[in-house]
């Protein structure tokens, strides 16, 4: 037979299906000997419990839905990997969906996931999302949801995000301590939160250190390799090079590396480059990239842990907020004059 049910086992043993059900779940009602017999024949018959049926009447699926903008971005794949790790360790499945940074796909994904009656949701918003309708629905259905990395503010959901400003401030202070004052900023798109907030910390810190802000060194662009490349080219053609470039993410930094090398500029001797990124990617840079480390695994684990705690009501659902700290990691792409690092 292909699909054995509890009733098949019951028939085989001439007992009731309830007895089988209880025995298989090690219910105290059933005698040791009976249990043994049932478990054995179940194994012999190749019984596999039907979790769908169980889910239906327990109204619990032990399933978490994830919506992520893009899995080709290693930052996200590390996050998802760590979420799956944590979820699996706590007996939850993960249904993974990708929004491709499209609001419409994201919405569709969310509706499917709530149709699947996931116990909770982990969501990183697409860059273009503005409509809150689906999320309101999720709220009404009392499905716990935790935003990670990119979140709506002023909604009743929890979120786990990086604390960008302190990271920028701290790293820039260290850079300035080294004696650098000529610092450019490749900011990404300033209409996005990430672009805006990261630039704010930059301006604030320079101002506090009485370093004048040069507009021509704040270059707005996208978030991809090519944007970093183009921005660096602009820098060069301006004829006015800074000592060090601060980049909004690793792809932009890589583009800057490319352009610098093409122009015969040595890193870090002729120009330093550092920016947001995470430890695991530094090795892909030559020389190793000095980064403000945004640890994706930490973020993934914290978000998933928070969600499961909310699902299991170990903590009140919604409006919890966790900041993941960023740490400045000196590698090789900025010369440390003072500390000889």
């Amino acid at each position: 037979m292909v699909n054995i049910r509890q009733s098949d086992i019951a028939k085989q043993l001439n007992i009731s299906r309830v007895t089988v059900s209880k025995a298989l779940r090690d219910h105290p009602d059933i005698s040791r000997s009976m249990k043994k017999k049932i478990v054995e024949t179940a194994a012999k018959m190749g019984y596999v419990p039907n979790l769908i049926a169980r889910q239906l009447n327990s109204r619990r699926t032990f399933t978490i839905g994830i919506v992520v903008p893009d899995l080709e971005n290693s930052f996200f794949s590390y996050i998802v990997d760590s979420m799956i790790d944590y979820a699996t360790g706590h007996n939850y499945y993960v249904i993974l969906t990708v929004s491709r940074e499209k609001e419409s796909i994201e919405k569709q994904n969310l509706e499917n996931l709530i149709g699947m009656r996931v116990d909770g949701l982990l969501v990183c918003l697409s860059q273009e999302t503005t409509d809150r309708e689906v999320f309101t629905k999720v709220g009404k259905m009392n499905i716990p949801l935790v935003f990670f990395d990119r979140a709506f503010k002023n909604m009743k959901f929890s979120r786990v995000v990086f604390d960008d400003k302190p990271g920028a401030v701290n790293s820039l202070n260290q850079i300035i301590l080294e004696g650098y004052t000529k610092i450019a900023n490749f900011s990404g798109y300033l209409k996005t939160n990430i672009g805006k907030e990261r630039l704010e910390g930059f301006i604030e810190t320079l101002t506090k250190n009485k370093i004048p802000i040069r507009k021509e060194w704040i270059i707005e662009g996208g978030f991809e390799l090519n944007d970093g490349y183009e921005s660096f080219k602009k820098l060069i053609s301006s004829g006015n090079l800074p000592e060090v470039v601060f980049t909004v993410n690793d792809r932009v930094a890589l583009g800057a590396y490319k352009a610098a090398k093409e122009s015969g500029l040595r890193i870090p001797e002729d120009i330093g480059i550092f920016g947001y990124g995470f430890n695991e990617i530094t090795d892909f840079f030559d020389p190793q990239l000095t980064v403000i480390n945004q640890d994706p695994r930490k973020m993934g684990v914290e978000a998933c842990k928070l969600l499961i705690n909310e699902i299991e009501k170990k903590i009140k659902s919604g409006r919890n907020k966790i900041f993941i700290e960023e740490e400045f990691l000196w590698r090789k792409s900025v010369r440390s004059k003072v500390k000889g690092k």
Copy 2:
């Protein structure tokens, strides 16, 4: 109310639940006006169909289970991304699990997934898997399964794999055409299929070209960055450098880059490096890595397409075999003397 059911809508409208069910699925039985009324009140009440219930009685979940060794490896994250893309486009969900290269976790994942009654499975075996028991079970339950990248042979399942030998042969022939004869091989572990098969093509091609095989240039190691690094160090300390190094994957290549640069060897002027990899990672190498391109997206899409075709019985299940072709991509890490590439 939090969780609206069809019966709630029926009660509200003083009609039977079946009418509601039919109307919502646009069944021809129901009149236009009735449908409209039902759909509207459903929306107003915030009805979300319970897919679990639907799955239970249709015995179809529209869910695909994926088991992958590691999501931090970008090769796999690209594969998974493309699978999700394809699956979503064909109205399937994806439950994603990670085996961490552990046979025991892989087995657990598979048992959970078949308990969830996935419609099909996409599996890349862990490096240590030898036991076929779970797979036999999957076979008995008639659940379509497609292996990708790493597969059991001689089982009744389909598989999608790279055709390693022709890739190696073709690339090596091109390299040899360039006039190179002193070629080293960083082979990975030879007890694994991948290591073994990739080396075979190497030996075969050199032999055919009457190039003597030098044992000291075939260096067995692991598959990680550090293994490439150590292997290269060995090469150097042997005092006998080849002209070009052929690596078993991108991480090993990166390690080789590191060691080469540390030793003051320029790539490609002093030594060339090329190996298995994929297009998207070449940019992370400086100079860009010349690769035998194993396109993960192609593999992901083909595997997923095959699986869905088997699920939907558009094709006979099992024993289908698809080879993904590899393409040699000249980049910058091997100097082309002849073609000036």
